[in-house]
């Protein structure tokens, strides 16, 4: 078939010594910046752009792509070890990953994350190889109305992200939505809740908020405890997940691969949403959801798989349609422009070496990452042996530098500290940052898409039925609710004794 011939061409490009070297450089840099909290692929690629101008176009994109998916591997490490998300897409991994560390299973968590990342990445590259043109059309089918439907679906997951009570989760989700309204109005451009602050015009930065609530909040929390009180027993022996671990995670990895792949294709989707969605899905599917938040291995395996899968499939709209689906892809778009190439519908035909070379390099890069990461797990786990005081001070310093690097903005450093204190207070009072963060991500997309839909339809809600993609998603939501309601009724009828209603409330709300 044509695709296989093209792929062979791609591998002949990717196996050129220069390209091999730069795949390696890319994934090594990616892993490194993924590990450093706050410092993400966006800032790194922006810094490296000028250097890529002197390089061959294919080589430079191969390297930049390596940084992107490499950072998805690295982001897990501090999430698991310190509850400090190394990268935005690993926020949700901090929930169960850190609990696993507390139970002495840090090695297992990191091991399963590396394996899941590899599988997710590879599944997604295979999808990219064979389905790219077809899936590009899925991205186009998603208009504002469909995004509304998708975000509503996302909000249904809010309560399952939380580990505490439903009421508290809903409060936090409300707070997240409220916080997401700060900044310039997406439709009329006026400023909201900025109180004259120029820094607030673009709202709170997601990374600063997530890093503050999860990471800095936890750092403050651990400072309260005495040195003895919190010595974590780390068994470095069991890096390789046991057969039982693999069995428990295999479903999560499979679902995470597919979910991440599809979410990555959607413009505006990307790592954060894919990992949040995977976590929520795993918790919903679990026989015993109460294990989540207490070190469930699926809560690490699923999201880590999904964010890798999405970082690969995000290349589909860029390379097939010329539409960058997130900030990192926009940077890669810029790099291509500087090389005199315009990503667009003709790219595959006009630049087969570039297109297939990048795809082939991803197979190689993912393999390199797996080989690189498994032995590194043991090294990183040693980090926990560092004295708490030193570790915390150093982690905080890196967080501050990382957060600053996102927008070169000192204001964001105050934001991360502010949300750190909030996260610490929430921790004390039993409120969970998960629902807040999810609502904060979904809120702006929901608002903008809903108002765009209303502008297009002239204020009529009919658009949500007439738009095929929106109708499909809303239909699925309705079916889901119906199934749950009927399901609980049936259960009730079977058991004559009243069933504890807490569980059903949790799901239907």
């Amino acid at each position: 078939m044509d695709t296989l011939d093209s792929l062979t061409l791609g591998f002949s490009v990717a196996f050129e010594p220069t390209n091999l070297l730069f795949v390696l450089i890319g994934v090594v840099i990616g892993t490194a910046i993924g590990v450093l909290p706050g410092l993400g692929p966006t800032a790194t690629i922006a810094l490296l752009l000028p250097i890529t101008y002197t390089m061959d176009a294919t080589t430079s994109i191969i390297m930049l792509a390596g940084i992107y998916y490499g950072s998805m591997y690295g982001g897990t490490i501090t999430s698991v070890l310190l509850r400090l998300p190394g990268e935005a897409a690993s926020v949700v991994t901090a929930i169960d990953g850190y609990q696993m560390t507390k139970q002495g299973r840090a090695g297992t968590a990191l091991g399963i994350a590396a394996i899941g990342s590899f599988i997710g990445g590879t599944v997604s590259i295979i999808g990219l190889t064979f389905l790219a043109p077809m899936l590009a059309n899925v991205a186009l089918a998603m208009g504002p109305a469909a995004y509304v439907a998708l975000m509503v679906l996302g909000l249904f997951l809010v309560t399952s992200i939380g580990t505490g009570s439903t009421i508290k989760s809903l409060c936090m989700a409300g707070l997240g939505l409220a916080l997401s309204t700060v900044g310039q109005d997406p439709i009329d451009g006026s400023s909201r809740f900025t109180f004259g602050s120029v820094g607030l015009l673009s709202g709170f930065d997601f990374v600063a908020v997530a890093m503050g609530l999860f990471g800095v909040g936890e750092l403050l929390h651990s400072l309260e405890k005495s040195e003895h009180g919190q010595a974590i027993k780390v068994k470095i022996k069991n890096i390789w997940p046991s057969r039982k671990d693999m069995k428990e995670s295999s479903g999560a990895i499979a679902r995470g691969s597919v979910l991440g792949f599809f979410i990555g294709v959607l413009p505006g989707g990307g790592g954060v949403i894919s990992s949040l969605a995977s976590y929520a899905m795993e918790k919903k599917r679990a026989k015993d959801p109460s294990r989540f938040g207490k070190g469930a291995i699926e809560g690490v395996a699923g999201p880590e798989t999904a964010n890798n899968a999405s970082s690969t499939s995000a290349f589909i709209p860029l390379l097939v349609l010329g539409i960058p689906s997130n900030v990192v892809l926009a940077l890669i778009f810029g790099a291509l422009l500087m090389h005199g190439m315009t990503p667009g519908p003709q790219l595959i035909a006009e630049q087969p070496n570039l297109f297939w070379g990048i795809i082939a390099s991803m197979y190689i890069g993912n393999l390199m990452l797996l080989v690189l990461n498994i032995p590194l797990v043991g090294v990183f786990v040693q980090m926990l042996r560092v004295r708490t005081g030193i570790l915390i001070a150093f982690a905080l310093l890196i967080v501050m530098i990382g957060v600053f690097s996102i927008n070169n903005s000192p204001f964001d450093m105050w934001v991360v500290l502010g949300f750190g204190v909030l996260g610490w207070l929430m921790n004390k009072t039993g409120f969970d940052p998960g629902p807040l963060v999810l609502a904060f991500v979904l809120g702006p997309i929901l608002e903008k898409s809903f108002r765009q839909s209303m502008l297009i339809s002239g204020g009529s809600l009919e658009i949500f039925v007439t738009d095929p993609a929106a109708a499909l998603i809303f239909g699925a939501i309705a079916l889901g609710i119906l199934y749950k309601v009927l399901g609980t009724r049936l259960k009730r009828r079977k058991k004559t004794a009243p069933v504890i209603p807490a569980e059903s409330v949790d799901i239907d709300s």
């Binding site: 910046i33 810094l47 101008y53 208009g143 451009g189 926009a330 940077l331 890669i332 790099a335 297009i456």
Partner: protein, 330 residues
């Protein structure tokens, strides 16, 4: 592809080094204090502020120019992206910088003119010194390939006869395209359902997917790729002159919409009170760069104006935008 061992290792070493250096440098972005150096300008690093995120056409322009200015004038021009506050943070920093030529910045209509109109900001256009125009991105109206509108007249007529039913996407609520469209609607009694988006990528997705009827968009390379592919059908150019690429495409003024034009002008600015000697140095530096083939190739041939707009002309263009849009906002 050539495989040159020496250059490969050099570049890879440079990549690794620069990550290290860049990572450590991000912590100390503040410009050092400067003694007024008139003679040997530029004698040290010049901060080149960018009010937009990296990756877009303005970023490509800044980086190409910064590199060329570094070579042409000596010194090092370092681009610093600060997209916070819709560019207001970068603009405020530029406005309050010492007028010694060691802090300059790109700006366009949005952060320079419109943002201060929409929001209460501590700066206005008067706080800057214009230096010259680096690039100019034209704008156009376009529809999808299956659109019932085959020309601009039928599109505008339909919007006039059925007010508010035809959706027209624009890049952002405070973009000059959105304001210019508002002006068109007022002056000629046309009413579109105007749909602000977060930029060109979203506009392209929505037009190709058939979610909106038409777009008013920056006619950059990304759009050109879709015109070439047939997914986009351009209906009218919204610059004062016809586009070089689409010579058959009428301008809005030719179609009878008198006074309707907008381009995204990428000007270089310094803080207010920039000494004339420094302005002159930078001005001639940009002029030389706009004729440099490498810069032209990077930015794109049709986006670099053939005739250079100097400091005075650039200032006039922005002052004109101010007077045009002031009555429309607020």
């Amino acid at each position: 592809m050539r495989f040159n061992l020496k250059s490969t290792f050099f570049t890879s070493a440079a990549v690794i080094l620069s990550v290290g250096v860049a990572v450590s440098l991000t912590g100390c972005g503040a410009a050092g204090t400067a003694e007024a150096v008139d003679a040997g300008y530029p004698a040290k690093t010049v901060k080149f502020l960018m009010p937009y995120a990296a990756g877009g056409p303005s970023d490509v322009t800044s980086r190409a120019m910064a590199q060329c200015l570094s070579q042409g004038l000596g010194g090092t021009f370092v681009v610093e992206n600060q997209s916070s506050g819709a560019g207001a943070v970068a603009m405020q920093q530029l406005a309050s910088a010492k007028p010694d030529g060691y802090t300059v910045g790109l700006s366009t209509n949005g952060p320079m003119v419109l943002n201060p109109m929409f929001n209460e900001l501590p700066y206005s256009m008067d706080d800057f010194t214009a230096i010259g125009t680096m690039a100019k991105i034209p704008t156009m109206f376009a529809v999808g390939k299956d659109s019932p509108f085959k020309d601009a007249e039928s599109l505008f007529q339909a919007a006039q006869e059925n007010p508010g039913t035809i959706s027209m996407g624009v890049p952002g609520a405070t973009s000059s395209l959105a304001i210019e469209l508002k002006k068109l609607q007022q002056d000629f009694d046309i009413e579109f359902a105007v749909v602000p988006t977060s930029g060109s990528a979203e506009l392209i997705t929505n037009l190709l997917g058939g979610h909106i009827d038409a777009v008013f968009i920056n006619d950059h390379k990304d759009v050109a790729a879709h015109v070439k592919d047939g997914g986009f059908v351009p209906l009218a150019a919204a610059s004062q002159e016809r586009s070089k690429t689409y010579a058959d495409l009428p301008t809005m003024e030719e179609l009878g919409y008198e006074g309707f034009f907008t381009d995204s002008v990428y000007g270089l600015f310094g803080p207010k009170g920039l000494p004339d000697a420094i302005v002159a140095t930078l001005e001639s530096g940009i002029e030389a760069c706009t004729q440099d083939q490498e810069v032209i190739d990077q930015i794109g041939e049709r986006f670099v104006p053939d005739t250079f707009s100097n400091a005075e002309e650039t200032a006039a263009v922005f002052a004109d935008m101010q007077t045009r849009y002031e009555p429309l906002v607020g």
